[in-house]
Structures are given as structure tokens and as C-alpha cells.
Symmetry: C2
Subunit: 320 residues, 2 copies
Amino acid sequence: MVTFNESIDEVTAFAPATVTNVSCGFDVFGFALHEPGDAVRLRRVRRKGVRIVKIKGTEGLPLQAEKNTAGKALLAFIEALNPSFGFEMEIHKKMAIGTGLGSSAASAAAAVFAANRFLRQPLSPAKLLPFALQGERLTSGESVHADNVAASLYGGFVLIRSVHPLDVIPLHYPRNLVAALIHPRINLTTSQMRRILRTQVNLSDAVRQWGNIAAFVAALQNEDFSLMRRSLNDVIIEPVRGKVIPGYEQAKEAALKNGALGSGISGSGPSIFALCSSQEVAQKAGRAMQSVFERLQIQSDLYISPINARGPKILHITQK
Amino acid sequence: MVTFNESIDEVTAFAPATVTNVSCGFDVFGFALHEPGDAVRLRRVRRKGVRIVKIKGTEGLPLQAEKNTAGKALLAFIEALNPSFGFEMEIHKKMAIGTGLGSSAASAAAAVFAANRFLRQPLSPAKLLPFALQGERLTSGESVHADNVAASLYGGFVLIRSVHPLDVIPLHYPRNLVAALIHPRINLTTSQMRRILRTQVNLSDAVRQWGNIAAFVAALQNEDFSLMRRSLNDVIIEPVRGKVIPGYEQAKEAALKNGALGSGISGSGPSIFALCSSQEVAQKAGRAMQSVFERLQIQSDLYISPINARGPKILHITQK
């Protein structure tokens, strides 16, 4: 039986931003970064339920727990495990919303990961995922995707084989893989980016895509960088979405010219990732991408991060 | 430089039948069997070119080298390597045509594998593949698929990431994987089986398919039988083709009930494979499938074979 540790008063947890889709892996791939990410602080209070007391780092997010992704995720956790107390929640958004880096997923993951620490025997990521997913459901409804939230909670590089039923498979990957992430400050909504996709695709394109994804999984597992280079291609989604992101083609080309193994849209954009075989290449590819947006007079944020094998982490605990 | 071994007079080679598509891997997966397969005997003669002197085991195949898959493959080999002599060829078809087990590919692979043995330094499967593919082109034209011929030449379990350019990736797999193959004696042509496929597919189905293929590659590499079971699913091709093969659904169900990890159509059918975790399970699943066709009063041939890691083999050499 699940029991709570009565001596824990306050927990602060961090959950990382995530890159999903990853070229050939539309809706099924995700990996975690070290930075950016969101932090959630939970304080034990007598009154049951969830009260969001503060949201730092952004504006316009709802304080009502039912309407907030982190709040909703925590409510799902509470409903299942029924603690005898409640939580006050403080959310520290350390990344912008709508970047394509899984901002809402990071908040939901941080909330359930923090809550998990109040248990005597913390639950596995697989057990926590359905709660965090309830938070994601707020932004995407029934067509919820588990890619960001699974990558954030599990860490590493994950494959979401199926959402109904949930089937998340952590993939082996070379430890020296480093991502360069560029976030050009452009407004694109996820729903808009999803709307522009065709619901039908050519069978021949689908075959190319699954040839590539199968090869990419083999490349990850065998640490075959040459095969990664050949298989990090998206013939279905990128041709549509790439056109909507100003500077996309040039940024990708700049990353590849500077040695990246592959480059594509992170999530539904506008952020662009470049996967690289070392920190040095990632720095170079990242700077090259940033120069493209500089020339276009678009402000951008650059992150360089190895794949985060660990996922969320506890930043602080207060015990009685 | 490529030189020929002048002391070799005659070579007989065997190349194996192959299972392609393998549920979630339409047009990109293939694996080799031990039996059945085709044998090709090549004899050195003064007169340049290729003369097919005999075809055993089947009727109606063309003796004209240009029009015969094995002949055409050998002609491509000759054109590239320009030996100072010619070949007399005898083809021993040990498997029926139109079974979905890559009969023409096995003949083409056996021909180039036999010819290869006349070289002082035999070429790699990767180098031989384009020649064998010229033979396959006879039956499928420009839309040629490399899956059967690559699996037959390389042996093992291969992924054909791309045909233009050719990119064949041998995959690791558990050595105890055993296939049960049932060939119900029904006439279905490959072109007919291809014609019934839709050229457009739902994006959501394509996503499910590439989630499964990605998972199946991870399962092969990690020898994860439980994941193989979950991912050996085809939501795109099988629902269409399965309906055309009498008894298909019952045979598949019988295989799964008897412990197979997965079951599907081999190539474009009518043969049906069941992948199993041991010889015993394969025997059981195979007999269960055969019973289904017995009840339907359809004659069938059953083969039980581990995956053939080696591919083609030399059966006989005559030296001066």
C-alpha cells in the first residue's frame, strides 16, 4: 500500500524541457535536455486539494488548479493516492510557453515528481506518467500526446509506441550525443501547427519514414553516427511545418554544414534542434543557427545540452 | 582490380527463401530462412555471355537470360566485371513461384553468389546486391524492392532503409528466433496484391505503424520478446491484403494462440509467417496454421526454420 512520509514538509523539483518528434519520429520520439526546464515547489498544508499560490517566470497562466497543467497533474496524483493533507504549489516557469520544448509537460512532470517525494516508497516514472498526462490533456484534449511528458519524466531518449494503452520504451543512445536548441522568438500555436498537417499521407512517403525511424533506432542502439546522419530525415511533417517557421531551412542547413548529425523541428516548433556527436560540434552548429536568426533580425535563445539521462530532479526538501 | 580465378570450372550455390514486410515493416524488412531456396549451377565456357541450359523444379520460366531473373542478374555481374569467359547456367527451383517467399530473388541471389566464387577475391553482399537487383527488376520494373534479394544475399534480418540510394542495414536479433511458414496453395499475383493497396494512408495509422516498427527494432536488438509481441502489428497493409487470403485470420489466430510472438503475411502472400521464440513453439504454431487450411481443404506446405544468419552458401565447386 502507498503511504506518505509524514515528516516531509516541502519539496521542490525540477523537470526538464524535451525535444519531441526528432525528424523521423513524429508523435513517437522524445528526449530530455538538462536546460531549460520548470521547477515546482509543493508545501504540505492541512486543507486538502491543491492551491496554486504563485507562478513565476511567465504571465497569463491560470492559478486555478483545475485549469493549470501542473495543478491538474497534481490533482490526478491526489485522486489516485488520497493523501490526508493538501498542497500549496508554486510554479517557477524557467522557459517560455509555445517554444516547442514541452513547457507544459515540464511543469506537469515537475509537479508529480515533487509530489512523489512525499511518499515513503516513490513510484516509478511509468506509474507517474498517467498523472502527468492528465495535465497535458488540458492543452490537447483527447488527442493527448505522451511524448513530451514521458521524455521529461523518464529522462533519456524514449519511444512512445502507443498512447492507448501507454507503452513507453526507453532507448539506448550514445552518451556523447549533444543537442543544440535554438528558439527563435516567433509566435506559433501548437494547434495551428497541427491544423496545417494533412490527415492523409502517401503510402510511399510513409514507407520512407518508417525505413528511417527503424534505421534511427538501430543507429541509436549501435551508436552508429553515420547511420544517424542518413536516417534523421522527415519526409512527411517537416516539408509542411518547415515552411511556416521563418529561417527554418537556412538554420537547418547551417547546423548540418557545421557538422550536426541531423536537424529538425522540435515538437511543433518554432524551436529547432540539431543533434551532434560532441559538445564542440553542438556549440558550432548552435552558433551557426543563431547567426541565421540574427541576420533575419529575429531574437533567439540558444541552449546546448547533452541528452539528460536522469530526467527530473529534487532541488530541495524541507523535513520536520 | 577484380580478377578471376582461372582454375575454377563450375560452382553450385544455394540462396535462401526470405520473409519480407514482417507485419510492421512493409517494404523495409526481410529475413532469410534455411529452407526452402533455389540452387544455381554455373559452368565456365569459352563463349561469352550467359546461356541457360536447364531449369528444374518448375515450368514456364524463360530460358532466355535477358528475361530470366537469375540470367539477368548474372548478365549485370558480367557487364560490371567483364570476365574473359562465359557461363552456362542451370537453375534448380526448389520452391514454387508466387508464394510470397521471394522465389525470384533467391534465384538471382544464387546466380550472383555462384558467379562471385569465380573471383579471386569475392565481393561483399553489398557489392553483389545491385547485380541481383537487376534480376528482380524484371518482375517489378522501376518500383523494384530490394527486401527479398537483400535478405537472401545478406542472410539474417535486414532493414532496407532506402532503395535509391541502396542502404541495407543488418539488424541484430535473438539467435533463438524461429519462423513457421505456411504456404497455402492459392494463386495470387504480386501485382494484384500491390494493386489493392491504397496509395494514401491516414497519418494516424502511419504514426502507429512507425511506433511499432521503431519498437520492433529495439525489441530485436534488446532481445525483448515481450516487446516483439506488442509491436508485431500492421495496421496498414494487413487489413487490406489479409482479406484476400482465404483462412488468413484463422491461421494467424491459431499461430498466436499457440504461442507465436507475431504472425503476418510473408511478402505479398499467400504465405503466412509466425515468428516464435523456440523450435518447439514454431512447430506447434506451424501445425496449428496447417490445420486451419486442412479444414478449408486447401493444400499447404509448412516450413520451420530459424533465421538463416549466413545467407547463400556454396554447395559444390569443380576446379581444374
